[in-house]
């Protein structure tokens, strides 16, 4: 049912039946009730008719006898015959009415004019003859009998209650007693006696038994309530009781009937228990002698007709319902069949095949409207899907192009292998993570013909394809102009001049561009609005390398860029980056920021620039984890790592171990490194020059002294920087020689007159704050100490 209820047919069936069945049931009920009421009325009417018939029958017998006895009493009063004539009159009564069993004229013995002795001749029928009996016996005392006393006391004719005349007629009887009086001369009337007629009730039984009872029911004619009422079954009562309920409590029923009469009720259902099956009781008072008619009518029989009618109506109703259901099915089928057909047609449709056939919309009803609507929907879907397929193809093409663009753009950047093509002293690593497939960030580095390394980082103002195209132009210009040998300031100005021209899109790019001299550690740097790079020194300190530069490229035609010059020491790393690093946003909205980057660089262990770059990328990615990068991210690290210098960090000092070539050029190169180290650590230029001088004098001396071993000399200069001091340590495995022990030249004599040896050592001693010689493991070790700032204590 639950399944059926989901269909239109099921629901139609349910609701129509839900509406029709109560109406139908109500109609049936009302019809049944009405029929039942009509039948009950009919039964009452039948009871009335029966009562009338019975009353008429009784009256027909009783009235004449009543009249006869009254007449006799009247004659006795008027004529006042002598008692001897009483018999004759009694006989007259018996002869006149065969239903009279016996009759007497009992004389009054008390009072004036009364009979002198009891006198009550009684004639009665016996075996067809009229027999005589004298009631005036000692034992009987007729004047005390009710049939005598009652009329005598009331002075009115009286019908006795029925009684069974045992010992006499052996039959049920009623007695009609009429008093008669004697008129005295003074016109007084005195009681003279009572005339009676005993009416044998056999005829009542006969009349009752022959009465037509009607088709149903059973009943009795019964005398008014008395100790022993007379009851005469009517018609076929006896056999019907047999059929209906043999154990029926007739007495109780009649008692109930009397109660009903007391309440003026004539018809009602008998209480339970009086009959086995429900039955009505109809009671009537016949008036004649106060006799009652009581009819028991079994309800099933009374309402049999109603039930038959009900059954017929039920049958008809069932047929009607059957037809209704069939009609609903038919209508539902007619309504749903086209809908099903539509559903099937639409169900066959798929994304690949939208060309489903719809039923012809010949109908003009709702189904027709639906079909038409579906047709329109199908057509517009077909159009839509076709458009979508086209746009998908277009999108795929664009995606493909974008992939190609991305790979082209990637190819514009230095490849991983190009770092290997750099001179070994330059170690460069970079990473670029575009936010979209193509991006506006850029980095580049390459070795120029003069041996310097040009490196640049750029960030186009926009992202995506426009930025990528702009970046492509920048990349090309950087390569072409950069290779020509221009210094970064002129290079940026040249690029700016070309990019400003025709820059209708008003794009701009910030660029940081530097030139690293691998022999001297000198960096020449220019910035076009780009964030200053961070220098991570060997000691671990991190600081911005230069201040702000000129305007971003693409904005002003007369872009003026300043060249900033400085030095980095071997082991120092310059880190360039775009704002994709500093502005990487975490989930809580915090930016990665320059402070985090500085801290990261400070904590990073010494190592290859590639590791440093990877570390930065990883840390930024972790910071912005879960967030889609909104900006391109680029990092580039440039580290100076010349082959002749070993840079290392110790507790609070940086150490550079320089192994010079055993030649004048080697000495010069050593000076370059010392200059780079000291200049980058902001040691005063004078001091730097002095250190260079000391180095030259010592190395030159050592090389000259160790000349016998030639180029096999193992020579090194170590430069250590503490916060206060510069410590130079020169080691060589030449012949043991302590230059400090050399006698100072005689400075008083003009130099022109003396040998020119020992001048270098003299200079060294004079410039240094402390000198110490030792010979360790077969090596000469000369340690020179200088304060960082000359003159400071």
């Amino acid at each position: 049912m639950a399944r059926g209820f989901r269909t239109v047919r099921g629901r139609m069936l349910f609701w129509i039946l839900a509406a029709a069945l109560p109406i139908y049931a109500g109609a049936l009920y009302m019809s049944y009730q009405e029929t039942a009421a009509r039948l009950e009325t009919g039964a009452q009417r039948d009871a009335d008719e029966l009562a009338a018939r019975l009353a008429a029958g009784l009256d027909a017998v009783i009235r004449p006898i009543q009249g006869g006895v009254l007449t006799v009493a009247y004659q006795l009063e008027e004529v006042s015959p002598p008692p001897a004539q009483y018999l004759q009159r009694i006989r007259g009564i018996l002869e006149a009415w065969p239903d009279v069993y016996g009759s007497t004229i009992a004389a009054e013995v008390a009072g004036e004019g009364a009979s002198s002795k009891p006198f009550a001749p009684y004639l009665y029928r016996h075996n067809g003859e009229i027999a005589y009996s004298d009631l005036a016996t000692e034992s009987y005392a007729y004047r005390e009998q009710p049939w005598y006393r009652h009329p005598a006391d009331t002075g009115r004719p009286v019908w006795s209650a029925p009684y069974f005349d045992a010992g006499g007629g052996e039959t049920w009887m009623v007695t009609y007693s009429v008093p008669f009086y004697r008129k005295l001369p003074d016109a007084r009337r005195i009681m003279a006696g009572v005339v009676t007629a005993d009416l044998d009730l056999k005829w009542v039984q006969g009349a009752s038994a022959t009465a037509t009872l009607g088709p149903i029911g059973m009943g009795w004619l019964s005398s008014p309530p008395a100790t022993e009422p007379f009851v005469a079954p009517i018609g076929a009562t006896a056999s019907r009781i047999e059929q209906f309920d043999r154990s029926m409590n007739e007495k109780a029923i009649r008692a109930f009937g009397e109660e009903m009469l007391g309440r003026n009720e004539t018809f009602r259902l008998l209480p339970r228990g009086l009959t086995a099956k429900p039955a009505y009781l109809a009671v009537r008072n016949l008036q004649t002698l106060g006799w009652r008619l009581m009819l028991v009518i079994p309800r099933s029989e009374l309402l049999a007709e109603a039930r038959v009618l009900l059954e017929r109506q039920l049958l008809l109703g069932a047929i009607g319902l059957g037809i209704l259901i069939a009609a609903i099915f038919l209508v539902a089928a007619r309504v749903t069949r086209p809908i099903r057909a539509l559903a099937e047609a639409v169900g066959r449709a798929s994304e690949e095949d939208l060309d489903f056939r719809l039923p012809e919309a010949s109908r003009r009803d709702e189904v027709g409207v639906l079909t038409e609507a579906l047709r329109r929907m199908r057509d517009s879907l077909q159009t839509h899907i076709q458009l979508r397929a086209e746009s998908l193809a277009e999108q795929a093409r664009l995606t493909h192009e974008l992939q190609i663009a991305a790979s082209i753009q990637q190819s514009m950047l230095p490849q991983r292998s190009s770092a290997a093509h750099l001179p070994p002293a330059a170690r460069v690593a970079a990473a670029l993570l575009p936010a979209k497939q193509v991006g506006g960030d850029l980095y580049d580095y390459f070795a120029r013909r003069d041996g310097t390394i040009l490196f640049a980082i750029g960030d186009v103002s926009d992202k995506g394809i426009p930025a990528a195209l702009f970046m492509a132009r920048l990349s090309a210009l950087l390569r072409v102009l950069g290779a020509e040998g221009e210094l970064p300031d002129r290079l940026l100005a040249g690029i700016n001049a070309r990019l400003v021209d025709g820059n209708e899109a008003c794009m701009f790019v910030t660029v940081g561009c530097g030139l690293l001299d691998l022999d001297t550690g000198r960096i020449q740097y220019a910035s076009a609005g780009h964030e200053p790079p961070l220098l991570r020194e060997l000691e671990g300190t991190v600081r911005p390398w230069v201040g702000e530069g000129g305007p971003a490229i693409g904005i002003e035609a007369s872009g003026d860029y300043r060249l900033r010059e400085g030095f980095i020491a071997p082991g120092d790393t310059l880190v360039l980056f775009t704002d994709g690093v500093t502005e990487a946003e975490a989930e809580d909205g915090s930016l990665f920021g320059i402070d985090r980057l500085s801290a990261l660089l400070q904590e990073a262990p010494e190592g290859e620039p590639a590791m440093l770059v990877q570390r930065i990328v990883d840390t930024v990615a972790a910071h912005a984890s879960g967030f889609h990068a909104t900006d391109d991210l680029t990092v580039m690290a440039v580290c100076l790592s010349p082959s002749g210098v070993i840079a290392r960090r110790e507790a609070n000092a940086a150490h550079w171990l320089i192994r010079p070539e055993i030649s004048a050029a080697g000495v010069r190169q050593t000076q370059h490194w010392l200059h780079a180290i000291l200049a980058s650590r902001e040691v005063a230029l004078d001091r730097t020059g002095e250190v260079e001088l000391i180095a030259e004098e010592l190395l030159t001396n050592t090389i000259r002294a160790g000349g016998s071993q030639g180029r096999d000399l193992d020579l090194s200069v170590e430069c250590a920087l503490t916060p206060a001091e510069i410590v130079l340590t020169v080691r060589d495995d030449g012949p043991r020689f302590n230059p400090l022990e050399q006698r100072d030249p005689d400075l008083e004599a003009d130099i022109a007159d003396r040998s020119v040896g020992g001048l270098g050592v003299l200079i060294v001693k004079q410039l240094a704050d402390a000198c110490r010689y030792s010979h360790v493991d077969g090596r000469n070790v000369l340690e020179i100490r200088l304060r960082r700032a000359p003159g400071a204590t």
Binding site: V667, A752, V756
Partner: protein
Amino acid sequence: MSLKIAERSNPPTITLTGRLDTATAPQLDEVLNRVLARAGITRLVFDLSGLDYLSSAGIRCFVRARKAIEPGGGKVALINPQPAVQKVLDIVKAVPRGGIFKSIAELDEYLDAMQKQVRDPD
């Protein structure tokens, strides 16, 4: 940065710019070879205005020039050394105080005085 050497005559002047050290001293030696070979040279001026760096190798060049000229009564003069260079010169006393001048004008003045002395010895 390296050494640049420019020559002038009357008085014979060698202008040094850059660094005079072990590596560059041989260049100056070559020039000196040529200059000192000239007959009758009595004066040689080194203009040090542009000299940033001087090491003992350079000082030897100056000493060599003095040894070649001064025994014959000639004079080697250094003009306008920068402080760092002056410091080195002071340390090794490569040139007597009298041989170092602030400028060409001072040198000229000195030379004029010398000539007067020669012309009018008392």
